[in-house]
């Protein structure tokens, strides 16, 4: 019997504590909202609305830009990312080499020496292939009507 009478009482006290806690949280929230309202001003609302308005416009333009969307799809491919990383590293290495190497002397002998380098030949081959694929891609874009 004792247990039966004590359990509902304990539950009521616990419920009351929960309600008090909830009310305290609601009161805190109300204070926060009230404080935010007091801190707001016409100027602040106008500035936020202005930024939001321009942001929406920008987002709209970007998401409806077919070229940009296609570019993002291309960049999403691992090989495109590897290519960009490789290109970035090559540019860095080139920049360091140019900075440390003495100025070129010029003349036909210098050009011939450079042409004998395997790296130069690979570079020329890469540029040639780039030109070939780039032209094909441009023709395809124009054919689709978005070039």
């Amino acid at each position: 019997m004792t247990t039966q009478t004590e359990t509902p009482l304990a539950a009521t006290v616990a419920d009351r504590d929960d309600i008090a806690h909830d009310l305290e949280q609601l009161s805190e929230l109300a204070t926060l909202v009230s404080s935010a309202r007091d801190a707001m001003s016409d100027e602040l609302v106008t500035r936020v609305a202005s930024a939001l308005s321009e942001g929406i416009t920008l987002l709209d333009r970007l998401t409806r830009n077919e070229g940009l969307m296609r570019l993002l799809q291309v960049l999403d491919r691992p090989e495109s990312q590897h290519l960009l990383i490789g290109l970035s590293e090559a540019l860095g290495a080139m920049s360091r080499d140019i900075a440390s190497a003495p100025p070129a002397k010029g003349g036909i002998v210098g050009i011939l020496r450079l042409a004998r380098e395997p790296g130069t030949q690979e570079g020329l081959r890469s540029i040639s292939l780039l030109g070939q694929y780039w032209s094909e891609s441009m023709r395809e874009l124009h054919r689709r009507g978005s070039g």
């Binding site: 016409d42 936020v48 609305a49 308005s53 416009t57 009507g145």
Partner: protein, 377 residues
């Protein structure tokens, strides 16, 4: 399909942008073309003029380049129409160029005609143009107290303007600490203080609370500028030290000159928004003779319906929507509080108590307008 939009205001711009998005594929495939002819390369946010009159906005905040608001696939020309040759499906512009169309949208707007009331131009301040709004602000700054009368011409753009300007005047003088020196009297042309019954019911106790007198059935006949008296058609008169007017409006002159509609308002089908007797001509915003408010919001909702219908005609050969007369108006009620009125052909507005959140919504909308006019909101 050649779609010609005449007028680059709120309705024309929303319509053209909305249509340009819906018909992007057809325009790219050269199956559709959208051309806009406007009288100006600038677009003005007209509701901002009220804020200019109270020094709360600078005039340059109200303008954007019209071209910057339009989708890139819209051909835009600053070359207003002079002659509508409807039987030949073409218009002639000021430069003499002929534009042919398959679908024509007329959204030329309205203009103030204070000159229709003798003495109103010289005797009253108003805020319906940039120049007049700045002049009104300067007059308010110089005003140190006395009798202030507010008079309303008909028809006029923005039905809420008379009420809003009255609340704003009350707030302005209160902030300056001279409200007790200003005796404000509001005059309205019909037998209640606002044309929309529920707005009238809501406004009356608000005016009583802030101490604004009112006289109804006061149709402005003339302003005796010398003696500072405004007289009504009904035979009453009011003395004033400062007179604020909502001037009467007409549709644009080009509409009247081309005999498209009496007073410059084109007879328009209330649901299809086509010009009466012409299925390939749509009319938008202030230019219609519809029994709805002449406001940007009406033009906005109408533009959405017309854009939907023109796009569906291009795609499936038939219109799909009807306009239900929807209008949404913010009402600034003073003390940084606002409410709104939303109504359509069937349902009158049910006004809620004004509050600060609605005021901020209005403040925010003043900037969000540019997103709205691009057809995004």
């Amino acid at each position: 399909m050649r779609i010609l939009v005449v007028g680059g205001g709120c309705g024309g711009t929303i319509l053209a942008n909305n249509l340009a998005r819906r018909l992007a594929g057809e325009i790219r495939a050269r199956k559709a073309r959208i051309t806009m002819l406007s009288a100006s390369d600038q677009h003005m946010y007209q509701p901002g003029l009220l804020y200019v009159a109270f020094g709360q906005m600078m005039p340059d905040e109200l303008y954007r380049d019209q071209a910057s608001l339009l989708e890139s696939n819209i051909e835009f020309h600053v070359d207003p129409v002079e002659e509508f040759q409807l039987d030949q499906d073409q218009v002639r512009t000021e430069s003499g160029k002929i534009h042919q169309y398959d679908v024509l949208v007329i959204a030329t707007g309205s203009r103030i005609v204070p000159e229709e009331v003798p003495g109103l131009t010289e005797g009253a301040e108003t805020f319906y143009t940039e120049e007049s709004a700045v002049k009104m602000f300067k007059a308010l700054r110089e005003f140190q107290g006395g009798k202030l009368a507010i008079v309303v011409g008909v028809p006029h753009k923005c039905p809420i303007a008379p009420v809003e300007v009255t609340f704003s005047l009350h707030d302005y003088f209160k902030t300056r600490g001279i409200r007790d020196k200003v005796k404000m009297k509001y005059h309205y042309p019909i037998n209640r203080i606002h044309t929309i019954e529920n707005v009238a019911k809501w406004t009356k106790p608000e005016f009583d609370r802030i101490g604004v007198e009112y006289e109804t059935l006061f149709n402005v006949k003339e302003v005796d500028v010398k003696n500072k008296v405004v007289k009504s058609e009904e035979g009453t008169e009011t003395e004033y030290d400062l007179l604020i007017s909502i001037p009467p409006h007409r549709g644009m002159e080009v509409i009247e000159k081309n005999k498209l509609g009496q007073g410059g308002w084109i007879p328009t089908d209330r649901h299809q928004l086509t010009m009466e007797g012409r299925d390939n001509i749509y009319v938008l915003g202030d230019t219609t003779n519809l029994p709805v408010s002449k406001t940007g919001s009406a033009a906005h909702f109408e533009a959405e319906v017309v854009a939907d219908n023109i796009a569906s005609i291009v795609k499936i050969g038939a219109p799909v929507r009807e306009y239900d007369g929807k209008v949404y108006c913010f009402i600034e009620a003073g003390h940084d509080r606002a409410t709104y009125a939303m109504f359509n052909y069937q349902n009158p507005p049910d006004l809620k108590s004004p509050n600060k959140s609605m005021h901020w919504f209005k403040m925010a909308y003043n900037k969000m307008y540019w997103t709205s006019v691009r057809g995004l909101l």
